[in-house]
Symmetry: C2
């Protein structure tokens, strides 16, 4: 076809920093950020980000460099999500709950030129930087110590402990020019950020996001959650988790209000909703527990409906009911770091106690759930349940378990520094989630379990989540986890770990009987039941690997 | 950065045909199309498009080929928007009001391998194909006659007049396989469609859209118009206009309902709204006149609010009031073929009678308008008012007139077969719209006129639209157009053409006096006023070039 042309007029690399430039011109006078007494407009946020990008450039930050940040959800971390890519560099927002050991390994991996650190964590970060050369000399032969920029002042006594160069955030920003020309990515597939997985299966992995993926996923999120009417977003999800599930950028696309908070509590959630008319917030399902179990004195009536987007294990019926009664509208998603956050809506699991939820819901809600089930984001190309060996789709029978695989532009660019792991994750041209599920006759996907957690009983694949759902429906059970225990005859059998509600007593026989009555197949009934606290990792997930080791170290019946 | 990988798992060319594949899996059982008694679901539409793409492939259609279509807004034309690109080819939907001469030129330009034609236009198309070799032998030496596929049956006597091969749409579709593997564009910047401009400045230009532009513009539209809740879209805008402003694809992204109609009338609009609970429709502002002036018997109460998106000259206050009273919510956009349809919201013009509109509107509406004014679509990178020579932005003073220029991924790939015109349109790295406007102190852009229509009085640039707005506010004036008349002293002076309302009388002196009282500057007052019908082109636009010729062929005062 002749006569066509690709030039700067009709081809611009996709990058979410463009949302901020548009917000400054379209929503210039509207509020961008509220944090305590601090308020900015979109014009101000744009100007501050340009100045910060300019300041970074003066500090010799350029394409290919990594800038790290360790901070709670403060305005500075929001600004860094734009300023760092506008300087051409890649941002890595670090989990603030990392310990010294994990932080050392991660900083060695990233080799950031600058680390922005909230004063609360400045001591930890400067200690790690100072110790690094001594503890890991072999990894650091080419390493220069990064520049540290503190957000808020560091107290003088702590500052002396640190022999790296330290600057202050606002002072650094002030050195930049507001007429700075933002750097446009050379290729829209270049990385804009590096995010770490929660590390439930070992060391956190460094997941790189491209500008293209971040741009498209932001638009996909807005479309998915229908966030069209100038939303007010309360920052309950950590910005260091998938860049706040990409909502950092989506909010600039919408010109909405970011309500930043340092710490999350039910009290702060209710207060922020009343004060700022919050319309949306997100997080792990534990945020619902926090709300449901908060003292009535902290609970305030909602001025209007609030959408809560959660991703992770489905909350219990009881919790769900309580938060819904308080006026919250719960939207449940399935996601992961490699998919830039929530990628599928649902899964509303079809086990007994969740079916029960749906029967309880009014007709309208139920319709809503049904039409959303199995829905993948518009910017994700495909979601399928496949046999991981043959790569064939499983039959749509609601029974045959396969691995959930994803394909599309809103998946990671790869694991930074680990091409082998990237190739493995993408082998066969699909991203292998490591989660298993089924496809129902109506085409909907229902997630079942982590691939490594399923129990292979003879030739049958059993989902531990199906068994846990029954255990959790027992009136005395607070928490439950089921893992595979090796067995000479069946290969693997289910072993249950149960934490009872305070003051309740039970025994293995009672639990086994309860399960026998409710589970469809005898193979699903736990062959052993152990009582006590469940081992959790730092993000609140049960450490099933620990339980599996325990189960296989002991006999069939617990003491 | 090492470890990253671009592969089919995380990089898929952007194309709006992917929306249909997703709609089939996510909205499979929901209605896709309603046309009289015909109804399809998204699963069926997907299957039909796959079969049609397969049939096209069997007819030797492949990458780089053009398939043309001439039909009103029937389901077949909707399906072709997916099936043709899914076969790897490019669709050109033709204006059904083209005459034999224009159609001949356009078909010579396109060289389509297949033409799909609604039986209403089969006679015209087959005649043009048969006559073509005789009338333009020099242009057709390498030309094979295209295959004709009729939508609905062609009556036997007409069919005999045609010596090209003729097939029928449903039969052709039936020869395809539903398990066809849709062709993915080799490059997302390859053309998905060719659309013709309305040709108000001469011959229509062939504007090519890329898959990437169509994909992004569809998402931009949805976000702009907040069409999240399974919309019901009435097809009042022609699908051959910018692919129905890209709504053909946007509707698949949303899983909404396409209500197809052959002809547009107020009666059909009201009936469709009542019958199908239409939520959105679009078109030129004349559609509002049609509604406002329809007999009360045709007007039915709206079951709920209906959004009407219009692009073109702003409707008069009186029309606007009437349609708003009937319950329609009017959204006004600025767009053009080269920008894939509406690209900016507004412009709500700030001339007297439009200011009046805004004073009338309630506070809430006013807020809404204000926050949207000057808003460009999220997928458009930038909109600016520039001096076309220096390429400098005009000052934000609301006075200095410059050319509106656009930049972004949702602009055309170029003019097919006319690289020179493409280069000219994109010169300086911006798309030059040929429209002039100003930028206000608050950053908002206000459109003023077509660049070629402005009057250069001495050194002052005068917008003819500003003068027309005053003329239209005269109680006796039905239509008005102002053009530049050459003048030895001033360079150019305004000359007004006015059509009076039926039964009304006036004279030049009365009109000039009315203008003198209301226009800010003496230079803006028309120096001559002519009465009578205004010359219109086929799309209902006043032919100002004709009026300019007339104005310069006569003396200063009309007979």
């Amino acid at each position: 076809m002749e006569g066509l042309l690709r030039c700067s007029a009709n081809y611009v690399p996709l990058t979410p920093t463009s949302f901020l430039e548009r917000a400054a011109s379209v929503y210039g006078d509207k509020t961008s950020i509220i944090y305590g007494d601090t308020r900015y407009t979109w014009r101000q946020t744009h100007e501050r980000c340009l100045k910060l990008a300019s300041a970074l450039t003066r500090l010799k930050i350029s394409r290919g460099d990594i800038v790290a940040a360790m901070a709670p959800n403060v305005p500075a971390l929001y600004e860094l999500h734009f300023a760092v890519p506008m300087a051409g560099a890649t941002l890595s927002a670090l989990n603030v709950s990392l310990d010294e050991h994990a932080l050392t390994i991660i900083l060695n991996r990233l080799q950031p030129k600058i680390i922005f650190v909230d004063s609360e964590f400045a001591h930890l970060v400067s200690k790690v930087i100072n110790d690094k050369n001594n503890t890991h000399p072999q990894e650091n032969h080419h390493d220069h110590k990064p520049l540290l920029v503190t957000i808020h002042a560091v107290s003088p006594d702590r500052q002396t402990q640190c022999d790296v160069e330290v600057r202050e955030y606002e002072q650094t920003l002030a050195t930049g020019e507001s007429d700075f020309q933002a750097v446009i990515p050379a290729d829209e597939c270049d990385p804009i950020s590096v995010n770490f997985t929660s590390g439930s299966t070992g060391m956190p992995k460094a997941v790189a996001y491209s500008h293209r993926a971040a741009y498209l996923n932001s638009l996909g999120l807005i479309l998915r959650y229908e966030m069209g009417k100038l939303p007010v977003f309360l920052w309950t999800v950590d910005m260091f988790r998938c860049n706040g599930w990409c909502f950092v950028w989506a909010m600039a696309a919408l010109g909405g209000i970011n309500v930043c908070i340092r710490n999350v509590s039910a009290k702060i959630i209710f207060e922020s909703i009343q004060l700022h008319k919050v319309t949306h917030f997100c997080g792990k399902p534990t945020i619902l527990n926090m709300i449901a179990e908060s003292p009535p004195a902290d609970q305030k009536p909602l001025p209007s409906a609030v959408d809560v987007i959660i991703a992770g294990p489905f909350p219990t019926t009881c919790i769900l009911k309580r938060v819904q009664e308080l006026g919250f509208n719960i939207i449940h998603g399935y996601g992961m770091t490699e998919a830039l956050g929530p990628a599928l809506i649902g899964p509303w699991r079809s086990s007994q106690h969740h079916h029960h939820d749906r029967d309880d819901a009014d007709a309208n809600d139920d319709h809503n759930l049904k039409c959303r089930e199995g829905l993948h984001n518009i910017t994700l190309e495909a979601a399928d349940v496949k046999d991981p060996t043959t790569m064939r789709s499983v039959p749509s029978d609601g029974e045959t378990i396969g691995e959930l695989m994803l394909q599309g532009n809103t998946l990671m660019a790869g694991y930074l520094g680990d091409l082998e792991a990237t190739q493995e994750a993408f082998s066969g041209g699909w991203f292998r989630t490591g989660d298993v599920g089924v496809r129902h006759t109506d085409g909907c996907i229902e997630m079942k379990d982590r691939a490594r957690d399923v129990i292979v009983f003879g030739k049958e694949v059993i989902s531990t989540l199906d068994i846990e759902a029954v255990l959790l429906s027992h009136p005395k059970v607070e928490e439950a986890a089921v893992v595979a225990q090796n067995d000479v005859v069946a290969g693997q059998i289910p072993c249950a770990y149960v934490k009872l509600k305070e003051g309740r007593c039970s025994n293995a026989e009672e639990i086994v009987e309860f399960c026998t009555e409710r589970l469809q197949k005898a193979a699903m009934v736990p062959k052993s039941v152990c009582f006590g606290d469940l081992p959790m990792n730092s993000t609140g997930k049960v450490q099933k690997s620990v339980l599996r080791e325990r189960a296989n170290a002991m006999g069939k019946l617990c003491p």
